[in-house]
Amino acid sequence: MAVAQTKLDLTETRISALAMPQSKGWAQTARAEALARLRAMGLPARRDEYWRYTDPSSLTQAAAPRAALHVDDEAPIFGEIDRLRIVFVDGVFDPAQSDDLALTHVTIERLSDVMAKDLHWAREHYGVLEAAGQSPVARPLAALNTAFASDGVVIRATGIVEKPISLVYLHNDSASDAMVHHVVRVESGASLTLLENGPAAARFNNVTEISLADDGDFHHIRTQGRDHERRAATHIFARLGARSQYKSFTLTGNGVLTRNEHVITLSGDDASAHVAGAALGDGAQGAFHHDDTVFITHDAERCESRQVFKKVLRNGAVGVFQGKILVKPGAQKTDGYQISQSLLLDEDSVFLAKPELEIYADDVSCSHGSTTGAIDETALFYLRARGVPRDVATDLLVLAFIDEAIAEIADERLSADIRNRLELWLGRRRQG
């Protein structure tokens, strides 16, 4: 299908506002190919099937809308966790604030250094997983990122990495427009935990390509920063080898626009992918629009996938969930599960869900469910009848609602930190 002229114009306008970083042969080729992919599909527009619920215009326009910096006195998340910190300020790596990038069983390199090398293992991954993830659904913002990303890290785990690698995204410039691209490779038998937190920029485009070798183990916990006016489009492209395990959890509180895409392919037998997310939006604190778009492909036997997404929305906040499980021919004994639920705390908030199953194997077990509901008045009364004030009782029920998603975090210190974060978030609203 020919791309509409308005889309092409939009795409060229965006491209003309960007400069492609200088890279070596292979990297330059990867960027050029991504640019060609982008030009072939054009940037997203509202009429695209996977953008019907989320208006992409502020993500595609040439200049990033400004986003005021958010300040509160809450202690930074993961602060008590022993981790290796890698700090980006408005999308630019800041060595002064970062730890030394040295840790046993893992190599960590800056993307620009990697791209200046004639040969590097990242060549097999940079833009490769993203390109594979462009079909059957186009993800133009990811191609844009591959072409123009200005910073990022390239991580390769070769054994059990003793402490998490923590990417901290600080936002200092209310007009910053950041494009960051990471590559993660977990080798056979290796294990890595990646943490991400912070608003990153006024507008943040983040792509992470994750490749798990057979028996690789990867955990990902992310919180997206509380700046009310920030915008983010993130893509995770993951390819899972045999018996590998992938677990991801994302917490989003605040943000005028967030689009989180997960594109995961289970390509080796007996692999497992768990993707979970919790989003809390309060329209009274500024507009809130949060979109989880997930595409999981089963392309091997006896793999398991699990999607658990929860949204708590109030005062006109909008939540979107588009989740798909695709079971390819031959992917027998697939076990796929998907649940997306929203808790609407008033009549102004909106939840839009599009669950999809597409199955081409005959011996599989796949289930999905989606619900939208209000606070359970019976449970609320029960709590109040025991002396718990209405607002505290409501928060208790909100936390209970979200807990199924948080329970996907394997590390109890990290899940405790997330729960604590949520309680603070809710507590601030109670006082406000």
């Binding site: 109040r384 025991r386 004030p389 209405r390 029920l397 936390l399």
Partner: protein, 251 residues
């Protein structure tokens, strides 16, 4: 302790009068029972007293130690010392039983201007009370009432009552869904709380619970009113002859 005068209540959503002038006084240290056929308004009375939404008081009053219950939020009534043991205890997935008990206890203390209980003291207290009711550590850890049997749910209600130490306890058909052993356990729990400073209102269909929790006063409720009041012998009369004779007599 609890004084109800001429209480008239209708459903909020429809023009249906449920309580048509209830007069009742429960003194401290006494156990009153309310019996009555289905639809007589017994459970409505318990809900209205505890502050559930969906009812409109059209006339009359209800006070706890002179304080106007009907002017308070449900949580304020609880903090003031009113406790309702639910006929159908509510399951709350995702909220641990211990968290629930501690949150409730501390919320009441906070409302009354008292200090929160320490984690250590709380644990000690809950273990002691749970043991008497044969509630094991697993039941305390699980989400509130989720997957509990009928008997476990009712024992959990009595545990909450024992922890919160209310002044006025209303038991709404606490015997429903209980076998004889479970009823004995629940009754023992209630009897352990009988105290000169505490009042009880036991709502039940059947006399059998009253074999275990001996009432001082028995009321018969029908069509939104207390139609007859007497001693424990009134419950035996109901057990023997049913409600028909009594209702015919007062009609």
């Amino acid at each position: 302790m609890l004084t109800i005068k001429n209480l008239h209540v209708k459903l909020e959503d429809e023009d249906k009068q449920i309580l048509k002038g209830v007069d009742l006084t429960v003194e401290a240290g006494r156990v009153h029972a309310i019996m009555g056929p289905n639809g007589s308004g017994k459970s409505t009375l318990s809900y209205v007293l505890s502050g559930r939404d969906g009812y409109t008081v059209t006339d009359g009053s209800a006070t706890l130690e002179g304080e106007d219950l009907l002017a308070m939020e449900a949580e304020e009534r609880a903090a003031a010392g009113l406790f309702l043991a639910f006929q159908y205890p509510v399951e709350i997935p995702g909220v641990g039983n211990m968290t629930f008990l501690r949150t409730a206890l501390n919320a009441q203390r906070k409302t009354r201007g008292e200090d929160e209980i320490s984690a250590g003291d709380f644990l000690k207290l809950v273990r002691e009370k749970a043991k008497a009711l044969k509630i094991d550590a697993d039941m305390l850890k699980r989400p509130v009432n989720v997957g509990f049997s009928g008997g476990e749910k009712k024992r959990n209600e009595i545990l909450q009552m024992a922890m919160l130490e209310p002044k006025m306890c209303i038991l709404d058909e606490t015997d429903s869904g209980l076998d004889v052993d479970a009823m004995k356990l629940v009754a023992d729990g209630v009897n352990a709380l009988r105290d000169s400073g505490r009042g009880f209102l036991v709502i039940t269909h059947y006399q059998r619970l009253l074999d275990h929790i001996a009432p001082d006063v028995v009321h018969i409720m029908a069509d939104g009113r207390i139609v007859k009041t007497g001693g424990p012998e009134l419950a035996l009369e109901v057990e023997k002859n049913g409600y028909a004779d009594i209702l015919a007599e007062v009609a």
